[in-house]
């Protein structure tokens, strides 16, 4: 039904913290209610060397908000001649979303980042009108967010290294989306460390 705008297209994302590393993962389904149209619709966008945002919700808004945020971050980098920090990025996003407080975008966001000098990790979770959480260990957004949250809590351990973090994130995402008809059809996982970023594509149940 076109009743629930946030589940019209489906999709899910998850972010988890490790020791001086962060993982962010999303599914690849693009659907219109119960029809799957494409299986290459990733929902994670990069805004700086170590800052990523994932948007889940109405697909048109996923595209528009990610592009409009890119507009603002590009100008920031040109004007200030420096790269974005995670807390500045989430604040810009909050601003962007709240500007449409009474006619909002239908996307929920995850902002993740790493400070390459100190190794400090950031995960922020935002609703569609810019209410941001504190810096958390685990966050999920999307139609299967509750299922993935449960699995995420199960697999999460503090201070995981990059490989353990990848395993925990992947398992939580892949198994969580199996319970949701509107998410799945493959996944992408980014593991962000101080000196490198590893992107892996996962093949899960193709249904």
């Amino acid at each position: 039904m076109g009743d629930d705008i946030l589940s019209y297209n489906g999709g899910v994302a998850l972010a988890m913290k490790g020791k001086e590393c962060i993982a962010i993962a999303c599914d690849k389904r693009y659907g219109v209610q119960n029809r799957t149209i494409a299986t290459n619709f990733t929902k994670i966008f990069q805004y700086s060397d170590h800052c990523f945002v994932s948007f889940c919700g109405l697909a048109t808004d996923v595209q528009t908000v990610s592009e409009r945020l890119k507009f603002r971050t590009n100008l920031y980098e040109l004007r200030e001649q420096r790269k974005l920090k995670p807390n500045v990025l989430y604040n810009m996003l909050t601003n962007l979303l709240y500007e449409r407080r009474f006619g909002p975008y239908f996307v929920f966001a995850l902002v993740v980042g790493l400070d390459p000098k100190t190794g400090e990790t950031f995960i922020y979770d935002s609703d569609n009108i810019g209410a941001v959480s504190d810096n958390v260990n685990l966050a999920t957004v999307g139609t299967a967010s509750e299922y993935i949250f449960g699995l995420g809590e199960l697999f999460f351990k503090p201070n995981m290294n990059a490989d353990e973090l990848f395993e925990a994130t992947s398992q939580a995402l892949l198994n969580g989306v199996d319970r949701d008809s509107a998410s799945g059809w493959g996944a992408v996982v980014y593991v962000i460390e101080k000196d490198k970023i590893t992107v892996r594509e996962l093949k899960g149940r193709q249904d």
């Binding site: 004007r79 420096r82 920090k85 807390n87 500045v88 604040n91 601003n95």
Partner: protein, 235 residues
């Protein structure tokens, strides 16, 4: 209510000059002297604040003003124009904070203030500001102090040390001799006072000069008692 003019009052002369801006600079050069010096660990701003009458309550009005936690201003030229710019600068700094949740870096605020000043040279029915500003700030990302001058035209210049207002040429010559990259903030304050003294008529006291300093902790105006101590050290 008269309607705004649609055309700018600042127009080119045949020789390619914007005469209104030249005149604005004349207003600046007739104003009381102000000095700015960038030390290795901070910036000092100093200005003459002479009252025209003994009846003036000196301590109520200030020339050296803070814009936000890490930035301050001083001027030469027309006081009322300065007041407006201070208000605009403060608002711009807060707008930045609202969007980015970070203290505005000095370079960014200077650009925005200079843009305001430039606007008034190209908008309908307004005149340029009759002030030059000295803007000091501490950049937490780059971990260093900054000193900028902003002119009525909207041009801005980064300085290691500079003087504006009356006798600024002598002031700058004096600073060229005295300035060194290794200057610490304490020495910079002394040098600033000595520079002001070059063009000062009469006795310098803690009530007829104003000093502001900006370091890693932020910007603050020195109290008259602190100024008195510095003056005593100079003798």
């Amino acid at each position: 209510m008269s309607e705004r003019y649609g055309f700018s009052l600042t127009t080119f002369s045949p020789s390619g000059k914007l005469v209104q801006i030249e005149y604005a600079l004349n207003a600046v050069n007739a104003g009381s002297p102000a000095v700015g010096i960038k030390a290795s660990n901070g910036v000092v701003l100093a200005t003459e604040k002479k009252s025209k009458s003994l009846l003036h309550d000196d301590r109520t009005i200030h020339k050296v003003e803070s814009v936000c936690k890490n930035m301050g201003l001083v001027y030469s030229g027309m006081g009322p124009d300065y007041r407006l710019l201070v208000q605009k600068a403060r608002k711009l700094a807060q707008e930045y904070m609202l969007v980015y949740e970070e203290n505005v870096p000095p370079t960014q605020l200077v650009k925005r203030i200079a843009d305001v000043m430039q606007e008034y040279t190209q908008s309908g029915g307004v005149r340029p500001f009759g002030v030059s500003l000295l803007i000091c700030g501490y950049d937490y990302d780059e971990d260093r102090p900054f000193l900028y001058q902003c002119d009525p035209s909207g041009s801005y210049f980064p300085w290691k040390a500079t003087a504006i207002g009356r006798n600024f040429v002598n002031g700058k010559t004096f600073l060229e001799k005295r300035y060194s990259d290794q200057l610490a903030l304490e020495d910079a304050v002394h040098t600033a006072i000595l520079t002001l003294k070059e063009s000062f008529e009469g006795q310098m006291t803690e009530d007829n000069i104003e000093i502001g300093i900006c370091d890693k902790e932020g910007f603050r105006r020195l109290t008259p008692a602190e100024v008195k101590d510095y003056l005593a050290q100079i003798g």
